[in-house]
Subunit: 143 residues, 2 copies
DNA sequence: ACAATTACCTATTGACATAGTAGGTAAAAG
DNA sequence: CTTTTACCTACTATGTCAATAGGTAATTGT
């Protein structure tokens, strides 16, 4: 499962992109609009600044801003930064992972294929794609 | 990430399928071959019996046996039974999940598509596919 | 100078899941 | 009636998740 770190990060990115008017956007506003604890978001947004997703500015008129245009962010890099890895198993998440059963493992080929599918799915999808998305797909699914 | 419950269950299924000679296979043997704690496996195979993946028989000559042929198990049902859900987010895992932001959510369409992709990937893959698999795919990936 | 606003920092917490371990009881076969 | 096996309840250590609490530092408007 994708944790709140990844999901909230995505919502923060979308919120900032939507309300971008050139100025820094205070976290207070984002937290209020998204209805997420500001204190918790502080932790998340800090990692997003460190990871190069956002610029932060202190003081009056401060807040957060995207470092690039929305089409220059892949969903994959956002999720991977926040979740640590997108890989389904440890032996693929860490290149140096040692497994004694590697050459007899009957499942590693499947995990590898799965890993690649996930990677492609999220890295081919840009923040700008979500920005213009409606909820159609999600809702119609259950009708 | 797929937990040991799901991964070990898959290995148990494969082990039993490989060593199927019509008799029940004792967990002791499976644990030894797979190099997994027998005590821990007990918990896992118990759920597999309850879930209809395996038959268990007590006493001498007892052990575990598949309830069907390997081509009649999808990987999806095995993983879903052991992991609880394969869905990436709570709002898709539980049909009755209520989310106040559902009709304004810009990400639910993506999660839905992702969910469907995962589901298709694992439900179209049968235990028999893994049984005949080599490690080629996994290893070549890193050469 | 100073008050307000904002990001940024360290520490702590409760709840839960993961990955087991320990020690027993019930069932079946030889 | 002993051996072998599944099955059962309980416990535990470790870690992650999802926050909360209470500060300090930086920047701007007045």
């Amino acid at each position: 499962m994708i944790s709140t770190r990844g999901r909230y990060a995505l919502r923060v990115m979308l919120d900032i992109a939507e309300h971008d008017d050139g100025n820094f956007i205070p976290l207070k506003d984002i937290a209020a609009r998204q209805d997420i604890s500001k204190k918790y978001l502080e932790i998340i947004v800090k990692d997003m600044v460190t990871g190069g997703l956002l610029n932060g500015a202190s003081g009056k008129g401060g807040g957060y801003k995207l470092t690039r245009t929305p089409d220059e962010y892949s969903i994959g890099e956002i999720l991977e930064l926040m979740e640590g890895t997108l890989s389904p198993v440890a032996c693929l998440a860490d290149k140096d992972y040692y497994c004694a059963r590697r050459d007899i493992c009957k499942t590693v080929a499947m995990w590898t294929e799965y890993d690649k599918m996930i990677h492609d799915f999220f890295y081919n999808r840009k923040l700008s794609d979500l920005l213009n998305a409606s909820t159609e797909g999600g809702l119609n699914w259950y009708i």
